[in-house]
Symmetry: C2
Subunit: 414 residues, 2 copies
């Protein structure tokens, strides 16, 4: 894509009312637009990152055999009353609205209830189980405060997977499988080295749940991390009893601020009992389905990456979710440089790489500053001087030094 | 994918409260689930069709040079008050909700206002124009009645593109280009032969707009069609004056029921003037941006296809949006048949085709009936008898007769 055609522009200052680093940087770089606190639109560069995160997660969920569906935002109260979660006193983050005939509706904050109601049409026998299904869908949560940019939105997209199993043992197996899948997902998203499976409260149906916590000062959670084991425990269950139970030793733990980028949770039969989702076992006995839930917020991952990998010059995208693979920068507008750029762009695109070419009529300094701010993982510079020597400059956004390589190498190796 | 693993099942009857043919069929075949009137979830088979429609539209929008973004559902009233469209008396399909501090919000019915407000950050000079940007995003419309299945939802996904031009002439050019793009989109979606550009009311800023109307008895619109010219006129502007203006002759027109699957509209400076979106021309003069809007409802296209291409046995998907490319059916469970099926599935998938293999332990009759109901565009049958003769049966869902081809052909030509 030609940068001169991109309708967004970078800006020197973020909006004055923006207090979070991730949103401030992403707004300045033209990735997102703030509609109101906790509500952000995704602009072309931001949407490219968003889709890459989404697709990595989707691939791993599909690889794990889960089936994708898409539930609705508008929620009828019936199922939620059965589970006891309709009342604003019980769930205090509902957005509610009304049909013309005054029927009250809610905007989905999560989707256990409608999914369980739906599954009553499809689950009847032990032969139907186990399986997992997920969606990548917009949630609405009426947060009193929303000051963490796209890390905590009032409107945000989440991958939520739900498992349906015959019994606790089968559920535990699914849970352990998803824990491994999650580790792989965060590795692929570039967050692997700073993200830890973290013991957290398990609710009614299991001792613990697991959060995936990424270390960052922007996080709202406190965790205690065993760096050697690569395991942490959330402050909310940080007791001697728990530590001994999970085999962690206080002296080996360091306190860290972290953000929960994912969680996996055993739901037991809470929702299936409330809504009557049962299956017949081999003997024809009706048994409630055992469930689990597994979430990852797409915007939260993107915001976390922006917090963790940025520097004083701007964003630093991991290769796997960089909006483009290569930021091609031409210095000067000699016909020869332009032709070289066209050829290189075509060659890279032919190899399946996405290229943003800064073809704008602005100074080299402005191009470099914008390139750092936007943070595409690899920058390639073409100039008359380099061309004379048959050379091209390549620099990874995260590294200090640029490398000079031959033009020939550039065409075959970038 | 193995059909035995698909969590959805077909059913003989649709829900009793479902009055539309498209929803009734799609529910019976396990493509969608009704949450409430006008609000449907998309199940795995349905979501596959949905995504294919989405991707065809996205490809054509990108080919036309438009840039994708993603705006929000939650709407602050400020921009809408400026355009005069916040009041429920003016726009009677708003869903409204509230923040905890009682600030009133709306759920986006369309997105001219927030997009124009956003563009004030990026459009300042004549050099920034023209361009188009689009999203594929969920709209909410509080319809009093919602009886047309997924053809008219209270919650539905729409592709809405907006163009930003310097003047009427440039806008007219963009509009004419999009008219051609739309013709191509509906051809690719399989609706080309029954969809007609239709003159409709143009509002304040242009004489006419164009709707793309698909002929079906399920449609809510009446159009007058010149079959030879392939052009129609909506009943709302069907006057002698208009006919003479657009060069149609009453005697050549036939009255048809139709559904509006897309529309293109010149907005003029209505929104840019209301919200102050201007650019500086070469002489530094501030001039309001001229806009256009271009919509296609994803669910509406899917529902329309279900209405138009179904028969008494079920759905009949056009190849381009079929949930799978091939429905592979094995009769009997001899090891040899199963092995042949595995090999054929692998071979087809190697060629990039998506295969649903009905490996269930049910009768051949049930498999055939379900295959017709689900409507995958091509069915391939393997049985002991066919195998003995080195043959495979292939049938297109829309055609009467099956063809017997050699096994070898099946591996190379399906």
């Amino acid at each position: 894509m030609l940068q001169s055609k991109l309708f967004t522009k970078t800006r020197k200052e973020g909006p004055k009312d923006e207090v979070s680093k991730n949103a401030e940087l992403l707004i300045r770089a033209g990735f997102i637009h703030k509609e109101m606190a906790g509500v952000y639109s995704f602009l072309p560069l931001g949407l490219r990152v968003f889709r890459k995160i989404e697709n990595i997660i989707r691939e791993e969920m599909n690889n794990a055999g889960a089936q994708e569906l898409l539930l609705t935002t508008l929620q009828d109260k019936e199922s939620w009353q059965k589970s006891g979660r309709w009342d604003d006193e019980v769930v205090d983050i509902w957005f509610k609205t009304k049909l013309k005939n005054d029927t009250e509706l809610g905007l989905g904050t999560t989707h256990e209830e409608p999914l369980v109601a739906l599954m009553k049409n499809f689950i009847s026998s032990y032969k139907d189980l186990p399986f997992g299904t997920y969606q990548i869908q917009t949630k609405f949560r009426n947060e009193v405060r929303a000051k963490s940019g796209i890390m905590r939105g009032r409107e945000f997209v989440m991958k939520d997977l739900y498992s349906f199993c015959k019994n606790d043992e089968e559920q535990k197996e699914y849970y352990e499988k998803m824990k491994e899948v999650y580790i792989k997902v965060f590795q692929r998203l570039g967050l692997g080295d700073v993200t830890y499976p973290t013991f957290a409260s398990g609710g009614t149906f299991s001792k613990y749940s697991h959060e995936f916590q990424t270390i960052t000062d922007a996080g709202e959670d406190i965790i205690y991390l065993d760096e050697e084991k690569g395991i942490a425990v959330n402050k909310e269950v940080y007791t001697d009893e728990v530590l001994s139970d999970i085999g962690l030793v206080k002296d080996n733990l360091v306190e860290k601020k972290a953000v929960e980028v994912g969680n996996i949770f055993t739901l037991g039969t809470k929702f299936s009992e409330a809504l009557g989702l049962t299956y017949k076992d081999e003997k024809g006995k009706e048994i409630p389905v055992v469930m689990g839930s597994y979430g990852i917020g797409i915007g939260r991952v993107m915001g976390t990456v922006a917090e963790v990998f940025s520097d004083e010059n701007g964003l630093v995208w991991p290769e796997s979710i960089s909006p483009f693979d290569v930021h091609l920068i031409t210095i000067g507008d000699d016909e020869e440089i332009i032709n070289q750029a066209k050829e290189l762009k075509e060659s890279l695109e032919g190899d399946g790489l996405a290229v943003l070419w800064d073809d704008r009529d602005v100074s080299a300094g402005e191009k470099f500053a914008d390139s750092d701010l936007i943070g595409i993982s690899k920058r390639v510079v073409l100039s008359a001087k380099l061309m004379e020597a048959g050379q091209v400059e390549v620099k990874k956004r995260g590294e200090e030094k640029a490398k000079i390589i031959s033009e020939r190498e550039a065409f075959s190796k970038i």
